[in-house]
Amino acid sequence: MTKIIEFIQQPWPWWVAGPLITYVMFALLYFGKRFGLSSNFRTACTMLGAGRVSDFFKVDWREQKWNLIFVLGTIIGGIISAQFLTADASVSISASTIADLEAIGIANPGASFVPEEIFGFENIWSLRSLVFLIGGGFLVGFGTRYANGCTSGHAISGLSNLQWWSLVAVVGFFIGGLAMTHFILPYLVKL
């Protein structure tokens, strides 16, 4: 048993994680649901009464109850993973990524899952952390609804279904991600 736990505690390679993501998508389809995480932000708006402000939120949130339960599961999955299934929380990113990130001023790239100086509890009231947390989150919420989907809906489900418009959306994801990483992020890190 200890051997099995130790085996699971290693980081999982892409060829384990990728197929399991397909399984999650298939399991949801089998239970009559469509894999899409960003829909929950819209459901949250509806539950908070946004239907009074815009027709966009006049939907029956109970039809999305399963998705909220699914999200609750993902949070629990994160807790289980951090508490019981992770022996070493460092991430073995490539040497070139470490060098690039050090060059823009990120300390100890890969020492933990996220850069502590930005996402650590003690630093979140700095201007830089607030820009990353509030600004980044806002763009994710606005952009996914505008594009009608995120990585799960477009990149995984949409491309699996060979949908042209999902491919267009994924091209957009990369235009934005590349522009941020290479042209804007070096300035945000220095805030």
């Binding site: 089998y30 946004a50 966009f56 994160g78 980044g136 996914t144 609804r145 594009a147 991600g177 941020m180």
Partner: protein, 137 residues
Amino acid sequence: MKYLRFLFIGILFGIVLSKGEIISWFRIQEMFRFQAFHMYGVIGSAVVLGVIAIQIIKRTHLKDNSGHLISMTTQEPGYARNLIGGTIFGLGWAITGACPGPLFILLGHEGWVFIIPILSAILGTFVYGVIYKRLPH
């Protein structure tokens, strides 16, 4: 309780994305710098298997557990909405290092700090819903 299955699938998804390091800010940076195969392997293998799975579903007319044909169109047509919306999301993805699923998983994995981007994403969705009629789609 019929919702319990979704809780378990969610737990599996949370563990897979944690253990696969897909929720790591550093892995997303590595992806947008094209410096490792890891993230491309994850998404690529998920999509290749997904294409096969959906072709099987369509060709065998597979039904879901309540007897309905499985259908799965998730797209809305339009270059403006998909390209501009996608780009805005991409900008946010590279800042937070997390798309919507990982934001929730990080809340469990790293702690309450991640409630901030989640609330902000809800706000972003709200603003979209208020102004969407004035945006090109």
